[in-house]
């Protein structure tokens, strides 16, 4: 009898471990920039509060739109305009040019110009991992002397906040060397117009980069992150289901009841015995 009990405990333990492993595996993803990606290219370690509805954003807050890949409706653009006019700050981090439509809708002249910037001013072998220098006196770069950039895009228009060194070029042929028609020149990778800031390097917020620019990350906090249009919200069906359960009280209650059912059944059987 005692042996059977021991085996039962062993089975229970294994099931718990297996369940934990399955849960951990199922609730993570390898999607770039995803909040559910705990790898180097995820944003799981970025301490931010997610928002999915742009209505009623708190005035004076900072909203981060990170690597947007979902279009904004006219209504949502209106909410953002109202938020900016109320003193809120919007930081759009994009290196693929997906934010250009939103920037145009917001009446901004700033644009993200995707390319393959490379620089000689770097301490890594990869020419796309190089140093940027803050210019001006923007709060987000207060106390920051250099920024480690990670394959950024250039930003045109607006007031420059972050520039590369003159020894930067658009490595059009991707060979990591300057040659052919490529020429050296400074590129702006962050600019602003009023409370709207555009950063041409969304990679600054991935897990592997947080330690590289601690002061910059500290400066943008506290920050809300748009989970409805950013790639940070990229998940998988299981994560979506879990998120839905968490955010839907009725579903959460149903699940709690479901979990309590075996216990109730067990106790009920004991009473019967």
């Amino acid at each position: 009898m005692a042996k059977v009990r021991r085996e039962a405990w062993a089975v229970l333990l294994i099931l718990l471990l297996a369940g934990g492993a399955v849960y951990a595996h199922a609730t993570t993803t390898t999607e770039e920039f995803s909040r559910y990606n705990v790898g180097w290219n995820g944003t799981s370690n970025l301490a931010v509060e997610e928002v999915r509805d742009l209505r009623g954003l708190p005035p004076g807050a900072t909203l981060l739109i990170l690597a947007p890949d979902v279009a904004f409706t006219a209504e949502e653009v209106g909410y953002l305009r109202a938020f900016l006019e109320s003193g809120g700050r919007v930081l759009i981090a994009d290196e693929e040019g997906n934010a250009n439509r939103l920037l145009a809708d917001l009446g901004s002249t700033m644009r993200v110009r995707p390319g393959n910037l490379a620089s000689l001013e770097r301490d890594h072998v990869d020419p796309g991992l190089f140093t940027g220098y803050p210019v001006g006196n923007a709060t987000i770069f207060s106390g920051v002397e250099t920024v480690l950039l990670n394959r950024p895009a250039a930003v045109t228009g607006g007031e420059p906040l972050l520039e590369t060194s003159i020894l930067t070029w658009d490595d059009a042929d991707g060979d990591g060397r300057i040659g052919g028609s490529e020429t050296f020149g400074t590129a702006v990778v962050c600019a602003r117009e009023g409370n709207l800031t555009v950063l041409g390097d969304a990679s600054l917020f991935v897990n592997a980069m947080l330690a590289g620019n601690p002061k910059f990350i500290e400066n943008i906090r506290p920050v809300l992150i748009d989970a409805a249009h950013s790639r940070t919200g990229t998940a998988n069906p299981l994560i979506n289901a879990i998120t839905w359960v968490r955010e839907t009280p009725a579903a959460a209650a149903a699940f709690a009841a479901l979990a309590a059912l075996p216990v109730a059944w067990r106790f009920g059987r004991k009473i019967d015995d």
Binding site: K3, V4, V11, A67, L120, L129, I166, F184
Partner: protein
Amino acid sequence: MNRLASHAILAAAAVLVLALLGGEAASPVLYTAENTSTAAHADPATIQKRSPGDADALVPLMDDLLGQTGTLALTIKLRDYESAERDLARYSELSRQFDRLVVTLDVSGTDIGEFQQNNRKNQEALEALLNDTRRFEDLKRLEIEVQDGEQRMAIAYEGEALRQKMREGFSAYAKREPATTRIAEHYDLNTTPYQQSVEHFAEVADAADDWRPATGGTAASPLAIAVTPAEGRYGDTLRIGGRYAGGVPGTRIEVYVDSRAAGAATLDADGTYNHPYRIGRIVAGPHLAYATAGGIYSEVATFEVLTQNTTITLALAEVNRTAVACTGNLTIGDGLPVAGAPVLIRTDDGTLAAAETDENGTYRTEIVLPGGEHTLRAEFHAAGYPLNASESPAETVRVRGEGLSPLPFVAAFAAAAATGWYLRRRRPEEEPVAKAAPVPESPGETPPQVEIAGLPPREAATVLFRALRTRLGIPETKTPRDCARIAPAHAGFFERYERIRYAGETPTDEELRAMEAEALGGGEGAA
């Protein structure tokens, strides 16, 4: 039933885990950090670091170089030759640093490379200006001191050659100004000193022109000179020659190019001389030639050396596990080899190896590389040649790397041998004892003489233990526990002694007497 279910669940869990593992077994993520770079970004933790600071120095160095031209040209203009020498040395050092940086950062194909070439020519021009100005001063002084007509003619010829050379030098220096200034402005450099250096250079050249009337110019010389053709490229042979009116056949005619002896010719029977001049390592641009026959100087002839493109090849061959042989050819457009030229081999991490071409334009060098795949390129930087720089296509080589070190195997073998030796040595010691257990106690054996009277009880016990051990023939290295195992008939004695020895117990007199009896064979009749 429960037990069966448990086993079934355990088996199912095991199968599930194995299946999950099997599904991921082919994934490289399990074994290597390959997924460390995407189009959007790279994982900095997995990217090799390189020494910082090299690139930071490039633009400031360009600024320093431009500043140095202004200082040097000014000191030359002021005839402050001591300061000019210092400025030139400083300028040369900065240029060397800059050249190294351009090669290290691999930017020779950019406008910075163009700036480098212009800077090199500017340095050569200012160095020549300094030397020519000094020589000019000497000539001026000599002109006053020398009264001999022939010598005065020689001074006039050399002065004219220098004057033309300085004029040509200034022309070339000024011609580079727009391009150099354009590049400098692109990098936001201060071009004022450089522009001032052009003005200073012009003033020095003009001052040389002013001296010309004082010498009366070059009088018509009986020694004529011409360079044909008037321009050429690397590898071409120009003819420097002319007629020496009144010259004796067989007279030796010395030929000078840029005031340096370039060779000699002999006057023919028809009164002409001819010296073939092959264009080799000489900078592109205008050059001067004149000839002398004893004290007779020719007029000064000019010719121009034009630039030409080069082609460099690279072939890789494995020498051994770590070394790679790099060979190739450096040629100009029509396949003519470039001899004695320096070649750089650049490996993927930027390290360089040097080689030199032979008379066939072929170079060969061996470089040692760490294991793995490497990309190499050969580069020719054309310093001092009337040639354009070139580089070979990148070639890839896989280096096997050092083989397994024999040291761990030798150590393992030594350890195994030592273990075998130890075990072999130990066995003969143990075996007799093992055979002796249980120890046959011969009835006729003489009991050892033991005296414990007056000893403290614990010491007395030790004496008795030794006595029994000796009597039983057990080696002294054995502990009480070993003894109990070897001689189980006396296990009680040994176990009691073990407690006395290690647990600190004190035997009673009665116990000591019993132990004495056993140690002395009392159990068999000694008591």
